[in-house]
């Protein structure tokens, strides 16, 4: 039996050692962040006033010590990781879905609607990214949801343009004509033929969105616009860590190191996906 293109691509991905190793590393970090806090009797917002600014001691109650409020650093970093990772994956998913639908409609419809929709994208591209994010998160009243919506709203543009180009060339293919001749409505054609045919492309380029969203979140939290204390995120932990790096580098090193590892592995996973799925490589 012939194997499906997806299975073939998956096999190619699995042969890429670096990508597989990075996938495992990422899975490990995700598991650490989401399961790790369960093993501690306190949360990252609880202060232990007997152990303020405790140093690293792997066999104590606080393996990586505490910050100057007596909060366990490891638990805070893991909880911050939950926030950053959740925003990263959900944000990339949302931006991918919005961008795909928008691009599919524009590319399939063509003509004036396409020009209008792409002009809107052009205008949004003209917005300096930070300014748009800051304005939007303020408009939506601050807080985590606003931050999330603002990041998604600034990042769906790239998938939209990529999908549109693909949809444009798909719209001229025979099977679309056949579907139309068979009496399918435009909505059904977009949803059942155009969108599924762009999925691989979206998967490949969407995987690049995840690090971008995580970076945006931590960058905004670093500037004090994103996730706010006492809730932890990698961004605001790094910010707090830089304030004290002269005396205690570990406060910067732990969240910063994990963030770098996640960005590192996501980058290689995206590379691996592109190499495995990109039609150019299929020759």
């Amino acid at each position: 039996m012939a194997r499906s293109p997806f299975r073939l691509a998956l096999a190619r991905f699995l042969k890429n050692r670096m990508a597989v190793a990075c996938t495992l590393l990422l899975a490990l970090i995700v598991a650490l962040c989401f399961l790790g806090p369960l093993f501690f009797p306190f949360t990252g917002e609880d202060s232990d006033f007997d152990n303020i600014s405790a140093p690293i001691d792997l066999f104590s109650a606080h393996p990586f010590g505490t910050d100057d409020f007596g909060r366990d650093l490891l638990v805070r970093v893991m909880e911050g990781g939950q926030v950053s990772l959740t925003i990263g994956f959900l944000g990339a998913l949302a931006a991918g879905v919005i961008g795909t639908l928008y691009g599919a409609v524009a590319g399939f419809a063509g003509g004036r609607l396409d020009r209008l929709m792409m002009a809107a994208v052009e205008v949004l591209y003209g917005f300096p990214y930070v300014i748009l994010v800051v304005l939007l998160s303020m408009l939506l009243g601050g807080g985590n949801i606003a931050l999330f919506a603002a990041i998604v709203f600034t990042l769906w543009l790239t998938p939209a343009t990529i999908v549109r180009a693909q949809a444009q060339s798909l719209a001229r293919r025979e099977f679309i004509e056949a579907a139309r001749a068979g009496g399918m409505t435009n909505t059904a054609i977009v949803l059942q033929h155009i969108v599924p045919n762009t999925m691989v492309l979206v998967l490949v380029y969407g995987s690049l969105l995840v690090p971008e969203v995580i970076l945006s979140e931590s960058f905004l939290s670093f500037l004090g616009i994103g996730i706010k204390e006492p809730q932890a995120s990698w961004g605001n932990l790094i910010e707090a860590g830089t304030a004290q790096m002269e005396t205690d580098l570990r406060l910067l090193a732990l969240p910063g190191g994990l963030l770098a590892l996640v960005l590192f592995s996501l980058n290689f996973i995206a590379d691996g996906l592109r190499d495995a799925f990109d039609p150019k490589e299929r020759l």
Binding site: V123, G126, P128, I131, L135, S218, I225, M245, A260, L263
Partner: protein, 306 residues
């Protein structure tokens, strides 16, 4: 070519107009005003202040007033820095931000292209390997981690360079410029490497070699032009990244540029200052996107009729 340039400039102008309008109205929709966070002030004083800045007028009147000022090159008064106009604030910060951005993009392009070329010409050699590792670092370690670490190591431990500020001439520029350039160096070197490798495989390169043209001439006259197209196309997005990065760098290194004001201005609802900075950054971004398109069209005639 001229009509292409004119068309791009025209659409850029529209984008800028949309940017101004959107920002203005979105700003006003944001809950909270510039003077609502202050200590309790009596309603009369509040009303007087708002009247002085025309904040009591309907929003569309304020918008027309703003446009009127804009046409005359007046960006209005800053609501937070009393006695300063937005023109003053931007005028005093712009030279610093421009110097920073100019050097960062120059370093990124020069270093990125040469490293990428070295990697492509000696694949899997030591330079290629080092560039790859360096590129991964540039992508994995964000500048808001790298910046503080560099301050800690080069300035506090080794005492080689100033920690922050702009008082030591070129020495205070070294760290900010290098760190701002780094993510772009990483990206540009990867881009140059892969596209030069691809370009060197093409048939016209084989033909050129077969004719007996020396390796440098093949590179310069035949391979590089095509290989640098994607790099040039990246110039637009790179500018966007530099704007984001410069806000961070100016905050981390306490540089007296424009970006430093932005976050503060947004949080304090300093409407005119936010508008001014948006206009400045947006204008730059649009201009660079246009320049990118024009350069690409100049390098690749096929793009002129799209």
């Amino acid at each position: 070519m001229i009509s292409f340039v004119a068309k791009r400039l025209w659409s850029g102008l529209w984008t800028l107009a949309a940017l101004i309008t959107l920002t203005f109205f979105v700003m006003r929709l944001v809950p909270g005003g510039p003077f609502s966070k202050n200590r309790k002030i009596s309603p009369e004083v509040q009303a007087n202040i708002e009247a002085a800045f025309h904040l009591d007028e309907p929003v569309w009147r304020q918008f027309l007033r703003y446009l009127g000022g804009l046409v005359q090159g007046d960006l209005g008064p800053s609501l937070r820095f009393r006695d300063y106009s937005v023109n003053d604030l931007i005028g005093s910060g712009l030279p610093y931000s421009l110097t920073l951005g100019f050097w960062a993009i120059l370093v990124a392009a020069a270093l990125g292209i040469s490293l990428g070329m070295a990697g492509a010409l000696r694949r899997n050699g030591p330079v290629d390997w080092a560039t790859g590792a360096f590129g991964v670092m540039g992508i994995a370690v964000p500048i808001f981690i790298l910046g503080p670490l560099a301050q800690l190591y080069f300035s506090l431990h080794l005492g080689l360079l100033p920690v922050s500020g702009w008082n030591d001439g070129i020495r205070s520029l070294i760290l900010p410029v290098l760190i701002l350039a780094l993510p772009n160096v990483a990206y540009i070197s990867r881009l140059t490497r892969s596209s030069l490798i691809e370009s060197l495989r093409e048939p016209h390169i084989r033909t050129a070699r077969a004719k007996g043209i020396g390796p440098w001439r093949v590179l310069r006259a035949h391979a590089l032009n095509g290989a640098l197209l994607p790099v040039v196309a990246y110039l637009g997005p790179a500018t966007a990244g530099l704007i984001t990065g410069s806000i961070l760098i100016e905050t981390i290194f306490a540089l007296p540029g424009v970006g430093r004001h932005f976050v503060d201005a947004a949080l304090n609802r300093d409407y005119p200052l936010v508008m001014g900075i948006t206009l400045l950054y947006g204008g730059f971004l649009i201009l660079f996107n246009i320049l990118t398109d024009i350069t690409r069209a100049w390098m690749d005639p096929r793009l002129r009729h799209g």
